[in-house]
């Protein structure tokens, strides 16, 4: 007779076997047996959030900065529904999360019991898969399968709903790896053929106006993928641009890097995407913030798309060469094959792409990230630039909320390593950055973790400062405070005749006092003169800090592709309306 364990014990045995060291969660009636068991498992630490959404984003931050799945533990009913935003966020941005939720006892399911909700029903469209476990003997298998589904193929969130009686019941435990016999995500085990590699290389050789367009898939494929990408880009000498999620896979300060593309991407990146004759998409998904108007998206180019998820290929944009593969595996074989047959490609091909590079240089001369600086008032772009300059020598991790500050962070903070940039791109969740920073700091103790925030976003999950203080996590909340929901205000200014409907927040809290009330440090910067000193002060404090940076209230985020326009019709900035001399601009 094998040894029997309670459902709660099985949960922890599975977590131990999956080498989990942190759980982010919040207790409640339907998960109490699991919380009761926590004390017997010293290798697993629980981080108590202040709201299940906060726990979820913290688990995301942990996952994205460590490459391991994030674990979330919540109770039934409101616990589960509060986690839905974080699950959907993780689903959109391909973050591996395993959410364990309590459920009312099986005999009460369907009776509208206290704190009952149809958790698997609600989370079905925002998870890769979910399970309601009705037999304790299924629990071990389901939990291990859950980890496998979350972390293989295109990663994403999963949920295991465990009724309270199952947590008490005794059952068998076993751990067998690879319980999922079927191929995940279609052809995840697909072998790359030489034929595919040769077609790829042939397109590279024929192109005179190529561009690499890389995304979060490179990051998700592990640090090795970024190494291979750098090698391939330097072997070819081609220009490269990246999506929001792909930042850091390729060094942000490298001359071959054109900056981010898309709605708020650089002039050179977007024009190069529009005019290229070969687009090499590696681990990006032709999102609508990238393509703009689909019918006029890069009309003259051949397109290659490498993605682990077959359903991402051909979803928005038709491509000429589709390769379903993990980025790292593919680039490894490609580089090997490429090197064998093309010894001096870089020098022999230089002539072919020289005209292309000189066109790109002309676009670069527009200096599309320029802004008009001020010595009276802090410009938000200037604040991000100073933050970058004063923290770039450390191995800094940056999270963001969603809005103008997020775009300024993406434009002006240069990342040189993968897994250093955590931002909510797909779902665009305001309130993501603060709890995500908590998870990042847990996974990277001793490192500098900064949440570049807006005052409106950060108030959505501000309660998590209490979590940061409890666990002595010295995260830095760098608020670009313009008292507006800046991106909403910007759209209203440009497209809704300056009708600033409900985008101004009157009665904001005093963020310095708020910081003090949470037991952390508050710093305020009001003028450009004091900005550097204050940032240095923030960086040197080994406690959580809320930094209230008062910035220009009317600044807009440029460049910008207006909705429904192709890439070559960007608005560069207010200077399009009134010419301003070069001396008035700060160069980036």
């Amino acid at each position: 007779m094998p040894k029997l364990f309670t459902g709660a014990e099985i949960v922890f045995k599975a977590l131990e076997d999956q080498k989990v060291d942190y759980i982010f969660g919040y207790p409640g009636g339907a998960v109490l047996p699991i919380y009761d068991e926590l004390k017997n498992h010293k290798s697993i630490k629980h981080i108590l959030a202040r709201h299940e959404q906060g726990a979820g984003h913290a688990a995301e931050g942990y996952a994205r900065s460590s490459g391991k799945p994030g674990i979330l533990l919540v109770t039934s009913g409101p616990g589960a529904t509060n986690a839905v935003t974080a699950l959907t966020d993780a689903y959109m941005d391909s973050v591996p999360l395993v959410c364990i939720s309590g459920q009312v006892p099986t005999h009460l399911i369907g009776t509208d019991a206290f704190q009952e909700c149809d958790t698997t029903g609600i989370t079905r469209p925002c998870t890769k898969h979910n399970w309601l476990v009705k037999d304790v003997n299924d629990l071990a298998r389901v939990l291990h399968l859950a980890f496998e589904v979350a972390t293989t193929g295109r990663p994403g969130p999963v949920l295991v709903d465990i009724p309270k009686d199952i947590q008490f019941k005794k059952g068998k435990y076993s751990f067998s790896k690879s319980t999922l016999k079927k191929k995940l995500n279609g052809r995840a085990t697909h072998k790359i053929s030489n034929n595919e590699l040769d077609k790829f290389i042939d397109l590279l050789k024929k192109s005179s106006k190529p561009i690499f367009y890389t995304g979060g898939g490179v990051i998700n494929s592990g640090p090795q993928a970024s190494e291979y990408l750098r090698e391939l880009v330097s072997l070819t000498g081609f220009p490269i641009t990246s999506t929001l999620q792909g930042l850091g896979a390729y060094p942000g300060d490298d001359p071959q890097f054109l900056g981010m593309l898309g709605m708020h991407g650089t002039f050179e990146a977007n024009n190069a995407m529009h005019d290229c004759d070969l687009m090499i998409n590696i681990g990006a998904r032709f999102d609508d913030r990238i393509t703009g108007k689909v019918d006029e998206f890069s009309p003259e180019s051949k397109k290659i798309h490498v993605d682990i998820d077959p359903s991402s290929i051909g979803k928005n944009i038709k491509v000429d060469l589709a390769i379903v593969s993990d980025v790292s595996k593919f680039l490894k074989s490609l580089i090997k094959r490429f090197k064998e047959k093309n010894k001096n490609f870089l020098s022999s091909n230089k002539q072919k792409t020289s005209k292309w590079w000189s066109t790109i240089e002309k676009w670069r001369e527009k200096k599309s990230l320029n802004f008009i600086n001020s010595n009276k008032i802090i410009k938000p772009q200037h604040a991000v630039q100073r933050l970058y300059e004063l923290t770039k020598d450390k191995d800094t991790f940056v999270t963001t909320e969603v809005g103008q500050h997020q775009m300024w962070a993406a434009q002006h903070y240069k990342f040189n390593k993968p897994n250093r940039w955590m931002t909510s791109g797909g779902l665009g969740t305001m309130g993501y950055g603060l709890p995500a920073a908590i998870g990042v700091q847990i996974a990277n103790p001793g490192k500098l973790v900064v949440d570049i925030a807006g005052e409106a976003s950060v108030l959505m999950t501000m309660q998590e400062m209490s979590t940061a203080v409890q666990y002595k996590l010295p995260i830095k909340i760098f608020i670009l405070n313009n008292e507006y929901m800046g991106m909403v205000r910007q759209w209203q200014e440009l497209l809704h005749e300056k009708n600033y409907s409900e985008s101004y927040t009157a009665a904001l809290p005093d963020f310095v006092k708020l910081a003090e009330s949470y037991g952390c440090v508050g710093i305020r910067a009001k003028t450009p003169d004091e900005l550097d000193e204050k940032i240095k002060e923030m960086v040197n404090i080994d406690r959580p800090v809320i930094f209230d940076c008062l910035v220009d209230k009317a600044e807009n985020c440029f460049p910008m592709i207006p909705s429904g326009k192709p890439h070559n019709q960007m608005i560069l900035g207010p200077e399009e309306e009134e010419e301003i001399s070069d001396e008035g601009k700060i160069l980036v």
Binding site: T120, G121, R124, P125, K128, H129, L132, V149, G153, L180, K182, L184, N185, G186, D288, T291, G292, K293, V294, D295, D309, P310, S311, G314, K315, K318, W491, L495, H496, P562, S563, G564
Partner: protein
């Protein structure tokens, strides 16, 4: 050019709409139909008809036949998205009108009709394997199997002969010859 006030792009050109029959083999577990139906409704795909039953009692495999409409791009997405679902084993996609595929739908018609009319009705249904399932002197229930369009037409014809209730299955499909889909 009119200024777009949306934060999203305007819709592009829409391709030609095709009708496809998609067959999905799934684990017959709780919630699997909701997963399939939810995928269709969540991504804005159509379901014209749906037929489902367990076909392998030992392995608990169900076969789902879905009739859907969409542009070739949408049909391709439906196939790829279905294949990503964990309980899905395989997906087959047939275009309406493909030669080596058989399609059938089953319909039950309840008719109010006297003996004379009944003869007429049987005659109309003759091509569609009619079976009388229930009979009284005022009414009868007739079963037919045919293609969707044929049943549509039949229902119209029967309307004036006393049709009072119709029950139809969705289409089911199978390949011709000894081959099976793998």
């Amino acid at each position: 050019m009119v200024k777009s006030k949306s934060a999203y792009s305007v819709p592009g050109k829409i391709g030609k709409i095709e009708r496809h029959i998609i067959v999905v083999w799934v684990d017959n577990e709780a919630g699997v139909l909701a997963r399939i139906a939810g995928l269709f409704s969540g991504r804005g795909y159509n379901i014209e008809s749906l037929a489902v039953a367990e076909v392998d009692k030992k392995k608990h495999i169900s076969r789902i036949t879905i009739v859907t409409e969409g542009t070739p791009q949408v049909i391709e997405q439906i196939n790829l998205q279905l294949k990503k679902l964990v309980p899905v084993h395989k997906v087959a996609d047939f275009k309406r009108g493909e030669k080596d595929i058989l399609f059938r739908e089953l319909a039950l018609f309840k008719m109010l009709a006297n003996a004379k009319k009944q003869e007429k009705i049987k005659k109309i249904c003759k091509k569609f394997n009619p079976v009388i399932l229930d009979k009284t002197n005022k009414s009868f229930v007739i079963q037919v199997t045919a293609l969707r369009a044929e049943i549509d037409k039949l229902a119209i014809d029967l309307k004036r002969l006393g049709l009072i209730s119709t029950s139809r299955t969705g289409a089911v499909a199978m390949t011709k010859g000894p081959k099976v889909f793998n």
